[in-house]
Amino acid sequence: MGITADDEFRRLYADNFIAILNYARRRVRQSDDAPDLVAETFLVAWRRRSEVPPGDHGRLWLYGVARLVLANHARGEQRRRRLGQRLRLEHREYPVTVDAGNVDVRDALARLAPNDREVLELTVWEQLTPTEIAVALGLSPEVVRTRLRRARTRLRSQLECHAPGPAGQELAVRAESELKGGKP
């Protein structure tokens, strides 16, 4: 079962355009690559619309496609389609910026195993539940929960071990406060 009518595809696109664009912005190295990833993702969806699951699973399916487009992109094999030229240009009005602080957190995140990092990012950044992530990644919810748990555990461990930096200092202060019986 899939979406076959043009109107259904338009709805899928309208409902998820910003979500997929933001997904891309959070993961591409160059801001200009985000519109390309969006275009490629929806092009795949258009061509395979008969396979897009109905309802909310369509959104999760799109995340699944987007991550695979991203993987191909990372391998340098993304075809450079000249779609979305206007989007590419206007997107530059929204530069991707990252908080300069919290270097420790970003470093710790980067050190996680890719599979673990992926579920953590989908949880926090895309606000997906383990069940939804499971659909998007084609895994069981239990596997997702396990990766999520492991990712948080390792991140916690890394942040607590690498105290220097704003996040570490913040944690150190909190830990000290807790030790003294103060409120965290």
């Binding site: 076959t4 043009d6 595809f9 696109y13 355009f17 910003i18 664009l21 933001n22 912005r25 959070r26 519109p35 275009a39 092009l43 795949v44 258009w46 061509r47 395979r48 008969s50 396979e51 399916w61 496609v65 487009v69 993987a71 990372a74 391998r75 779609l83 979305g84 206007r86 989007l87 206007e90 929204y94 990252v98 908080d99 602080g101 919290n102 957190v105 970003r106 195993a113 890719p114 926090v124 950044w125 383990p130 069940t131 499971a134 998007a136 084609g138 895994l139 069981s140 919810p141 239990e142 596997v143 929960r145 396990t146 748990r149 492991r150 948080r152 555990t153 991140l155 942040l159 996040a167």
Partner: protein, 357 residues
Amino acid sequence: MKDSEIDRLLGEVQPTPVPAGALAEAGRELLEEIMSVHSPAEPGRSDQAVPLPTRTWSLARRRLAWVGVAAAVVAAVVVPTVVFGGGGAVVPVTPATQAPTPTPQLPHTKNPYVLLDAPGWEIDHVNESAEDNGEISFQQPETGQSLQVSWTTMDAYESRYEDRLDVSDPEPITLFGANADRFDYGKGEFEVLAPQSDIFLEVRGSSTGGRKNFAGLLEQLRQVPAEEWFAAMPDSVITPDENPSYTEEILAGVPLPEGLPASAFVSGFTNSRYHVEFGVIQRATCAWLENYEQAWETDDEPAMAAADQALAGSPNWEAVRREDGPDPIGAEQYVKAVSQRKSVDGYRSNLGCDDLG
């Protein structure tokens, strides 16, 4: 540091999003371009370099998952540990190389009993979710490398293989003396599909370095006798003979609906501790919600009250309360609905109750 604090920190480092409603015109233009590119609704894949997320692993087959608790691996080192006694008792034995003469009663599964001999690697988790489906994962804690070996029935092989053709061209290799295909995801991620008689193996390496390194790891994978495999399992993994007593331990203090025996929670598979706990809590919660749903439909207040009382106490169940216990199964909204005598519609699919069999 609580999970919520970790999530908050992560939320602070995410790149800035585009606000809702932005780029609407440009987005619409892109939509028209896309819809004009390819008119047929035919799901052709010949021009696609992107595999679709169609590798939907049966939830039922994988309902018990695993954990990330490190443990000493294997290698040719064999440690005295347990095998399966006829009565399910834990029986200390000598190393497998000096296996006892009585044949232990082994579980009936398609587990290929794979171990990794590579120095510094550990068993990260084991998950047998069904007789013919499971996974064992190894990790190298210092480098963050991981290697997963999963197995499932051959009926899923063809679609999996086709899916992987979109990842890369297959490269024929040999694994365990048989033909297999390797696919390259890039960035040090590889996957091997290796058909065996009635199952096939998927061996997935993450951050394993180049092909040579990955090939080196594959060479250190071994299929071993079942006894040796069980002997290599770390404490973090619950083997079938340990499952009844461990399940009993988890159920201590957990009220069960009338007619639901503790034996219904016992699994004959091998799984990491965390997911045995998760599975038991999930099953108990599902059972109470099922009782409540039936009572709600017939307006049976005493039965609803019993379910309410049991579920309201679930945060105090030992395995739930413990700091290193499993993650919440996500039943909070239903527990609240029960306390308000509202419908719990949707709980079965959302909590995975349908997958419990």
